[in-house]
Amino acid sequence: MSTTAPAWVAPTARAVPWQPLAGVAVCLLGVVVLAAVRGRWPVGVLDVAAAGTAAAVVAGLRDPAANLLSAMPTSAARRQARRLMLLVPAGLGLWLAYLAAANLVSRGVGWPLGPAVALVATGCAVAAWTPERFAVEAGVAAPLGWMALARAWSGLHDSVTPVLTAYQSHPWVVTAVASAALLMGRSR
């Protein structure tokens, strides 16, 4: 990390598009309020919420000034890493707040942190390995797509079920693999 570390925090935070995360936060709040009104937790909604939160974190990597900044000594990979240093704690905070609220409504919800983290890491890794002009779009689609595939196909085909549900059954393994892929993708 360069010695300009304190100087990059404020402008990077202002450059990050926070709207996707704010939008997901509003949706999650709506789910909690509805669940509280009905007095029970809706089945399967945690999965969708985790994927939505992950997609919103990855969407924060979109940089409208990427062209202007493409020839900076601070590389695109480092700029993206800085964005993630701001986005991941924010996304994690949102997810924990959501789980806390959900546990107030229904004690059976628990604290499933791993799947959300695994989906964020997967989205970032996909973005890192996709051509630049649609990297963020692919990264956003990855957690949503994986979640949708898992919901649609797991149980129907025994051979693919372990893979489709890996982010739920082995979230920290998925996180480790995706993080390694992210680092390799960014250092290409």
Binding site: T4, A7, P11, R14, A65, L68, M72, T74
Partner: protein
């Protein structure tokens, strides 16, 4: 645009040898060899000639598929040297993109941060200096989303000029500028010793550049001074009240006379060629 040439250097700022870049099987840049030293260098050519691709390679944004490229005596293929080049490089891309919620001052200051300038006071002073030099002193604290297209282009130009880079790469810097702003661009003072700029505006090349390269189909077809480019059409331009079918190219001028390019007929009123004449003749030769 004028450059400060008070320092001396023995090596060319940009050296390219047999540079190739393909998109799929289509070569965008096809064996470009050039050696550019100090001063303002213009890059002319029609759309799709490969100008932007060449500038992106010089700006270290794009790696060539083949050939050798060195800037400021350094090799951009080596990551450490590439970073060194970028510390001494300013780049204005064709579609820069800005943060609408930032002010010009905030954006230029952020660019200075990304250029690894740690001293906050220096950054602020430098941000003010470059924004004043592009004529944005009055709006430097207004949100970018409220600025006109021409002002946004000048914000991006100011960002490229932060830190007085030795090499300034400008892709269509006059894009979106009105005639008055174009004139201001011509009188812009830069500390950069080498400026490489692409443009469609031939008169800009005549007004700004000490040397000019013309590209067609990914290749450099002319390298010389603007006067030499105009000189290509010497003795091949004439004017007449009516259109001459023998001319390889004709157009009507502001005075109502027809200007012709080609082999002038006997008795024709041959006139001095302009830069446009030289470029158009070259383009015509390429087409045929």
């Amino acid at each position: 645009m004028t450059t400060n040439t008070s320092t001396t250097t023995t090596t060319a700022t940009i050296e390219a040898d047999g540079l190739v870049k393909r998109y799929g099987s289509t070569p965008a840049v096809d064996g470009v060899t050039l050696s550019a030293g100090r001063g303002i260098i213009g890059l002319l050519g029609p759309n799709g000639a490969g100008k932007t691709t060449l500038l992106r390679m010089v700006a270290t944004v794009l790696a060539p598929d083949a050939g050798r490229l060195r800037m400021l005596g350094l090799d951009p293929a080596d990551p450490a040297q590439r970073t060194d080049i970028r510390r001494q490089l300013g780049y204005l891309p064709q579609s820069p993109g800005l943060y609408p919620g930032f002010t010009p001052f905030d954006l230029v200051d952020y660019v200075a941060v990304l250029k690894e300038h740690t001293d906050r006071d220096w950054r602020h002073e430098e941000s003010r200096r470059v924004l004043e030099s592009v004529g944005l002193a009055d709006v430097m604290h207004r949100k970018i989303r409220k600025l006109s297209g021409g002002m946004k282009q000048r914000v991006a130009l100011a960002a490229a000029m932060v830190g007085s880079p030795q090499l300034l790469v400008l892709d269509e810097p006059a894009n979106g500028l009105d005639p008055d702003q174009r004139l201001r661009l011509r009188s812009l003072k830069t500390e950069s010793s080498t400026v490489l700029m692409s443009t469609h505006n031939i008169s800009e090349v005549g007004a700004l550049c000490q040397s000019v390269y013309v590209m067609f189909d990914g290749r450099i077809r002319f390298a010389g001074t603007p006067a030499e480019l105009a000189g290509l059409a010497a003795g091949q331009v004439w004017e007449d009240a009516s259109q001459d079918p023998r001319a390889i190219r004709s157009w009507i001028t502001a005075t109502g006379a027809y200007r012709h390019l080609g082999e002038p007929p006997s008795g024709a009123q041959v006139v001095d060629p302009t830069l446009d004449d030289g470029y158009l003749l070259l383009a015509r030769r390429e087409q045929s």
